[in-house]
């Protein structure tokens, strides 16, 4: 029996190693946008709880100005600020993973945004770690102000990343439509050469559809222009983003029209003269 002990031990260790490896691999694979988004939602709910406690503690301190209420206010402020940094960090991570999952974004654009997002996340991690070393309520207020300034820059990046995600979707759809348009062009040219069906109407409608695609591209460029113009000190960044989003919706409408034109064109080709 003793002779089998080393073999038995090896089998046990080997099995445990395989099991752990599988578990780690599964966990790593599953960290996608959905998981990151769940993390963000959970963190955000924790932040809201911490924030309401902070508001109460702040009010108590402002009313009584006692040392006890000040200590309580300091504790609650620290907790709230820590969760706030955590919310921004998890949100930016979710945004990064959404960017990774979205097609139609150029590699260059994607990498630039990754770098910027990673840099922001690092900043908030450092800030989060430094918060606990604040010795007084005043120190915490200073630290919070620092994050407030930083968040203005972060917001610009957030809106640009969001705009890029939406633009990516539009680009993908337009690429698909362009492919179909090219196939149709070739087919119509082939029909014209054969001369067994009139192609005048089809060619005119093809131009109409092409025109719609161009308009769609123009609207998308306009949206991107709006997004690049957002500055950290702008007080209405959200408004600018909404404008860009509206332009993208217009761009989308043109894509729908182009698709409808192409479908009508197909009908025309399938019908006898």
């Amino acid at each position: 029996m003793k002779r089998f002990l080393p073999i038995f031990g090896f089998v046990v260790l080997f099995s445990i190693a395989i099991l752990l490896n599988c578990y780690i691999a599964t966990y790593a694979q599953e960290f996608d946008f959905n998981r990151a988004y769940d993390d963000y939602i959970y963190t955000y709910s924790q932040y809201r709880v911490a924030h309401s406690e902070y508001v109460s503690a702040k009010q108590a301190y402002l009313n009584y100005k006692t040392l006890t209420s000040k200590t309580e206010a300091q504790d609650k402020t620290l907790k709230m600020l820590e969760w706030r940094d955590e919310v921004i960090k998890t949100y930016l991570t979710a945004l990064r993973l959404k960017l990774a999952e979205t097609t139609g974004i150029s590699n260059y654009e994607q990498n630039v945004l990754y770098l910027k997002l990673d840099s922001e996340v690092s900043w908030y991690i450092k800030h989060h770690d430094a918060l606990s070393s604040a010795g007084s309520l005043e120190d915490l207020v200073d630290s919070a102000e620092e994050a407030q300034g930083k968040y203005q820059e972060t917001e610009v990046l957030i809106y640009q990343a969001l705009g890029t995600i939406l633009s990516g979707k539009e680009t993908t759809l337009r690429q698909h439509l362009n492919q179909q348009m090219e196939s149709l062009k070739n087919k119509i040219a082939e029909i014209r050469e054969k001369g067994d069906k009139k192609t005048t109407i089809a060619e005119r409608w093809l131009l109409e559809a092409e025109n719609r695609l161009t308009r769609s591209q123009e609207k998308q460029s306009a949206a991107q222009q709006i997004l690049t113009k957002i500055k950290p000190y702008d007080s209405n960044k959200n408004q600018s983003y909404n404008q860009a989003q509206f332009a993208l919706e217009e761009s989308h409408q043109y894509l729908k029209e182009a698709n409808l034109n192409l479908r009508e064109l197909i009908r025309e080709v399938k019908s006898a003269d």
């Binding site: 038995f8 089998v11 099995s15 099991l19 809106y159 196939s183 069906k197 919706e249 894509l255 197909i266």
Partner: protein, 133 residues
């Protein structure tokens, strides 16, 4: 009359020679393994396998609460008039393929979410002040 002294003996304590138990072997080609040994190692391995399976099920990630599935919004299907007099291209494979692809694109166009409301930035209280307003 001389009495023969009989030595005190407890016969129960005298070891009785055991009958040799015949060992059974499994033979695998040139190898000979005791049956007893094989069964005990096999049993232990089976036990280990069960423990590992239980561990694996415990280590499994807890299932995430099911997300609310978005109900598909009904979209009006465009009225497609039947082609009464088809051309020779009505059954052309290239044309039919483009038609099918355009239908798929149409579905994508209808289902694309261009708002991504869930990704709107979080509303955060960035102003931390301890002064009377």
């Amino acid at each position: 009359m001389p009495t023969e002294k009989i030595a005190d003996q407890t016969f129960e304590e005298i070891p009785v020679a055991e009958e040799p138990v015949e060992e059974k072997y499994f033979t695998f080609g040139k190898f000979k393994l005791k049956q007893k040994m094989v069964w005990s190692v096999g049993g232990e391995l089976a036990g280990l396998l069960i423990v590992l399976l239980i561990l694996a099920s415990l280590l499994k990630k807890p299932s995430v609460s099911p997300k609310q599935t978005q109900l598909p919004t009904p979209t009006p299907t465009p009225f497609e008039e039947e082609i009464t007099s088809p051309s020779i291209y009505a059954t052309d494979s290239a044309i039919l393929k483009i038609e099918a692809d355009l239908k798929t694109i149409d579905q994508d166009l209808q289902s694309t979410d261009l708002k991504e409301v869930g990704l709107n930035p979080p509303v955060l209280d960035m102003e931390v002040k301890f002064e009377e307003e």
